[in-house]
């Protein structure tokens, strides 16, 4: 299994290590646990080792036009040093991966992709590469990444950054700045629904970055956060997880992320004809949020039934939400989907457990825009 540069730190801090897509990473830390870690990110701040994420650079005179064809959002309207959320689709309108696009200019972009999909994404990009004009580099194993998230994140980063983090706006980034003397890329982005930053440094500087951020945050209540809380935070904040809300067959419109799909953008993109047709003809299924009223914990893959007992869909993500103290599910159901306030049930070990459809996201995100 692969290890990040912060591995020794996790082991020393009582991290309970699991295999996550071939990476040995902590699911939680013994002293805290998922619930405490989750609530600390919401109330103070948390530090995540996300060095397993993939980073790919796209450069060359043809970069902008070529990249645009592979992703759903409109990168032509981006300003330099903006970050944009994107989905990379198959011809059939399913999802290869979702990613962040960092724009340096029309001839240089940085893509940040899911760890489990780095190889698949790399092959997909390479397969679509033109003869010349675009150069790809997979810098995943050269790049360590930490996410500093929570209401205290800005104050903590300000103590060690060689720039004023309050000037960095939501979904923008800066490159070549110092974080505690380490050259870094810093973006105001994250996967928790809180304000926060994602910090990219050279691989061999990962542990040093980890130590100096934890030290800078010790008076602000900063603690390390494992993968368990990373998932519960993103789920509660309505952020999709590839493989759950997106699959080969479940596309971005059905998942409820049509805002990031520009079906009429210049030049089109892979999957566009299918998605455009879906949009025009109406969706055959869609994802709705559900709060379970009966006792029980919905989990991904469980059946979803309407009040008559007919199976109408599947849970894509489910679980306990610590900030809401409720058991919630995202359910992909046939259309017409029930409206907010209507009933659906999740079949948990052969028993239907009743719930009520609620708005997404479950948690009101606290971004600083």
């Amino acid at each position: 299994m692969k290890r990040t540069p912060m591995y020794e730190r996790h082991a020393a801090a009582g991290g309970r290590m699991v295999d996550f897509g071939g990476w040995e990473l902590p699911v939680q830390y013994d002293a805290t646990g998922i619930k405490t870690e989750h609530l600390t990110v919401r109330s103070k701040a948390g530090l995540f080792d996300v060095s397993h994420m993939g980073e790919i650079t796209v450069e060359g005179p043809g970069a902008e036009k070529w990249l645009s064809r592979l992703i759903t959002n409109d990168i032509f309207v981006m300003k330099d040093f903006q970050v944009q959320y994107n989905i990379m689709c198959t011809e059939a309108g399913g999802v290869v991966d979702d990613l962040l696009v960092y724009r340096y200019g029309p001839e240089k972009f940085l893509l940040v992709v899911n760890a489990a999909n780095v190889d698949k994404d790399w092959d997909w990009l390479r397969k679509h590469l033109p003869g010349d004009g675009v150069i790809l580099e997979n810098i995943s194993m050269k790049t360590a990444e930490a996410a500093l998230q929570g209401p205290a994140a800005e104050a903590i980063l300000a103590r060690v950054a060689g720039f004023d983090p309050s000037t960095l706006r939501f979904f923008t980034f800066t490159d070549g700045v110092s974080v505690g003397g380490i050259p870094a890329i810093v973006s105001r982005t994250g996967y928790t629904g809180e304000d926060g930053f994602e910090i990219y440094v050279p691989w061999e500087k990962g542990a040093e970055l980890w130590d100096l951020l934890l030290d800078a945050g010790k008076d602000s209540g900063l603690i390390p956060i494992g993968l368990g809380a990373r998932d519960s935070l993103r789920f509660e904040a309505g952020l999709p997880l590839c493989g759950h809300e997106y699959t080969d067959t479940l596309g971005p419109l059905e998942a409820g992320f049509g805002f990031f799909v520009k079906v009429d953008k210049p030049g089109g993109f892979i999957g566009q004809p299918v998605l455009k047709r879906q949009k025009e003809e109406g969706l055959r299924r869609k994802i709705v949020g559900l709060r379970l009223e009966d006792k029980g914990v919905p989990r991904a893959g469980m059946d979803v039934a309407d009040p008559s007992g007919k199976i109408v869909g599947t849970v894509t993500s489910g679980g306990y939400c610590p900030s809401l103290d409720a058991n919630m599910a995202l359910c992909c159901v046939e259309t017409p989907a029930p409206a907010e306030g209507e009933s659906l049930s999740v079949v948990i070990r052969d028993r239907p457990k009743q719930g009520v459809v609620v708005k997404r996201p479950f948690y009101d995100r606290k971004y600083k825009k």
Binding site: G33, Y320, R349
Partner: protein
């Protein structure tokens, strides 16, 4: 180090049982609650249900996932701990005071095949050494 009371019998799957006359009182061990993490719901069986030794009949849901709990011996469910309904976190706080199920034990001889505290402590020690 996980707590392991001397006066209980244990399974390899981290359940404990204590006899009160013909009635068995069972729950999960300290090692089990720690491994599961924050417990958010306990699905208890119906009273009157008959179970065989080793049969899964309880589900303990933690933030991480669902965990099956197995019956240490064969018998009939005579009662469940209703306190856990509104406060499943009690299992994290004290998994020995907070039992799960009372069982009318059908074959007390099965108790002999369970681990005593010393044997269970050895098993836990091995598991903890592995994870270090």
């Amino acid at each position: 180090m996980a707590k392991i009371p001397q006066d209980l019998r244990y399974t390899k799957d981290h359940e404990w049982i204590r006899m009160e006359g013909a009635m068995g009182v069972m729950g999960i061990t300290d090692y089990a609650q720690h491994a599961m993490g924050d417990i958010v719901y306990v699905e208890l069986p119906d009273t009157g249900r008959e179970v065989r030794a080793g049969e899964d009949f309880i589900v303990v849901e933690s933030v991480k996932g669902a965990n099956d709990v197995f019956s240490p011996v064969s018998g009939t469910v005579a009662g469940v701990n209703g306190d856990l309904d509104g406060a499943p976190e009690l299992l994290n706080e004290d998994p020995y005071a907070n039992w799960l199920v009372r069982l009318e034990v059908s074959d007390p001889g099965e108790l002999d095949s369970l681990l005593d505290a010393g044997a269970y402590a050895k098993l836990v020690e091995e598991l903890e050494a592995e994870s270090d």
